[in-house]
């Protein structure tokens, strides 16, 4: 049996409802627990194996091993290249890499702010001395 205006009830109901679109950025909805945001790296558990760098499909990670025994590592994370696939988290046997579900508002006006450098300040200085092109990157 054919009918006209089959979706009229939907439209009528919607007249008395608030819009379903989110009022971002005024109102921020809760981020899912598993959301893959910018990553965090913990040098204390890292062994410097480099599997995360090898497996990263976007070449977003650079690991400089200064001294494996003394755990002197410097990690440069290029968030602009990152595809947030989470493979580095899977590849890391030590669990040194986690993806932070809260840091997902990553737009920036300055290109240099996309590189995050992890590591002890003196290690970063030493590592960057050999890599002058990353000198402008911000340190954390």
């Amino acid at each position: 049996m054919k009918r006209f205006f089959t979706m009229l009830p939907d439209i009528t109901r919607s007249l008395f409802r608030r819009p379903v679109t989110e009022n971002y950025p005024a109102v921020q909805s809760e981020t899912p627990e598993r959301l893959r945001g910018a990553l965090k790296w913990d040098p204390s558990t890292c062994t410097g194996c480099g599997l995360c760098v090898m497996d990263c499909p976007a070449e977003a990670l650079e690991l400089t091993v200064l001294d494996r025994k003394a755990k002197r590592f410097v990690m440069v994370y290029h968030v602009d290249r990152c595809t947030f696939c989470g493979q580095c988290v899977m590849s890391c046997k030590q669990g040194s890499i986690v993806m932070n579900n809260q840091s997902w508002e990553l737009a920036a006006l300055d290109r240099n702010s996309f590189a995050t450098i992890f590591g002890a300040p003196e290690d970063v200085k030493e590592a960057l001395a050999n890599k002058p092109e990353d000198g402008a990157a911000k340190s954390e």
């Binding site: 054919k2 979706m7 893959r36 499909p57 493979q87 899977m90 590849s91």
Partner: protein, 402 residues
């Protein structure tokens, strides 16, 4: 286009850049008044060289490259690639991982079919259905985001298993979303089956008989709407489909209305299947270790994507990189039917017939053949094909001669 009497009539070119098409594809429709008398399609504007790029990445990196073959059915590509690599390495993912892969594949099917329903309703000028079906599709996008961590490229697969578990809390969120969607889908089925104006755009339009579908090699829901029993989840069950069988949804009419009904009825089947798997999720590990070097060999994997059969061929030479990859997505097989079925219809029906196969242009643009400028030196009258090395040398010569 051949220089025949038909081509001397008025020809309407559409694309490659055209506001009505979301992706680049070139169509030429010869019209006699309003009726299409000849149709021609030229694809290949969105070729991205993914197969060649895959040869320079390692096995793990390729998983994420191939997930980006298609933005809508991204999981099925990662799924197919993982299965192929696991079979080459003689490894089987644990049962729980296989079940989770199927859950994500079915959630993806729901999202893809709802998206398609909105797009084709929009092509028909029924924007109310488009808006409301896309509003409800957000439910499934939120479920996928909560489950996998991303709305589009879920990255659920890892070589040897999956990345995440489905916890009881997650299962409840999925069930709740599916219950809501089931109610809405019943309403949409009612709309597409009974709305007078919408039926004028779908009933009896683009009729493809069973024999036509078989000859043109149609795949997926497009073929099933013409009563071709072709569904790899039933014919050659893979992963958890062996333990959780699927009922094939068929229709005999073969027109656009049948394609709508087949896809919407597949939604109900997906809801049922996901609920069944969630209730009987196998216990165990989530992934197993896969070696970094995959043994030499060749492997073919075929999976049922939302649009039809996805074909993967992988050749390994025993190193940490693959030697050759071939991907074939369902749109290329269904595109023939658009060209054939448009003839005899009004030009205004063509966007609906095109949308009816659920096309995805950049997925199917894959192979490029370049011929030498030797003016048909081959015995068959065609110019000879240029090899990769010849093409490279040609490019170098051209560069140096600037």
């Amino acid at each position: 286009m051949p220089d025949t009497a038909a081509s001397k009539r008025f020809t309407v070119p559409i694309g490659p850049q055209h506001p009505a098409l979301k992706e680049p594809g070139h169509f030429e429709f010869t019209v006699d008044g309003e009726i299409v008398t000849n149709a021609y399609v030229r694809l290949g504007y969105a070729h991205r060289g993914i197969e060649k790029a895959a040869e320079s990445r390692n096995w793990v990196q390729n998983l994420y490259l191939l997930e980006r073959v298609c933005g809508i059915c991204s999981h099925i590509h990662g799924f197919a690639y993982s299965l192929a690599v696991e079979r080459l390495a003689n490894i089987e993912a644990p049962p729980r991982a296989q079940a989770i892969r199927v859950i994500v594949a079915e959630l993806e099917r729901i999202h893809s079919h709802l998206l398609w329903m909105g797009v084709s309703a929009h092509e028909a000028g029924f924007d109310t259905l488009f808006m409301y079906s896309w509003r409800d599709r957000e439910t499934i996008m939120d479920v996928l985001e909560g489950l996998t961590g991303n709305r589009v490229n879920y990255s659920a697969n890892v070589l040897g298993g999956v990345k995440f578990d489905v916890t009881p809390t997650q299962a409840d969120i999925i069930r709740k979303g599916l219950t809501f969607l089931e109610e809405r889908t019943k309403h949409y089925l009612d709309v597409i089956m009974h709305d007078t104006m919408f039926l004028q755009r779908t009933r009896g339009i683009g009729v493809m008989t069973r024999s036509q579908a078989e000859v043109m090699g149609a795949l997926g829901p497009t073929a099933r709407a013409s009563n071709v029993q072709r569904d790899l989840r039933v014919e050659a069950p893979y992963a958890a489909y062996k333990d959780f069988p699927v009922q094939m949804v068929l229709d005999t009419r073969g027109d656009l209305e049948a394609r709508f009904e087949v896809r919407i009825n597949e939604l109900f089947e997906s809801y049922r299947l996901i609920n069944q798997i969630l209730d009987n999720l196998p216990e165990g590990e989530l992934n197993v270790r896969v070696p970094r070097r995959i043994p030499a060999g060749e492997m073919i994997v075929r999976l049922e994507a939302p649009r039809g059969e996805v074909f993967y061929f992988i050749k390994s030479n025993g190193t940490d990189k693959l030697e050759r990859l071939k991907v074939r997505t369902p749109t290329i097989c269904n595109m023939t039917s658009v060209v054939r079925l448009s003839v005899g219809h009004q030009l205004a029906d063509v966007p609906m017939i095109l949308a009816g196969i659920d096309p995805c242009f950049s997925c199917n643009d894959r192979t490029v053949q370049i011929r030498q400028a030797d003016g048909g030196a081959q015995p068959n009258g065609l110019s000879s094909l240029m090899s990769w090395e010849e093409l490279r040398q040609y490019a170098i010569r051209k560069y140096e001669a600037r």
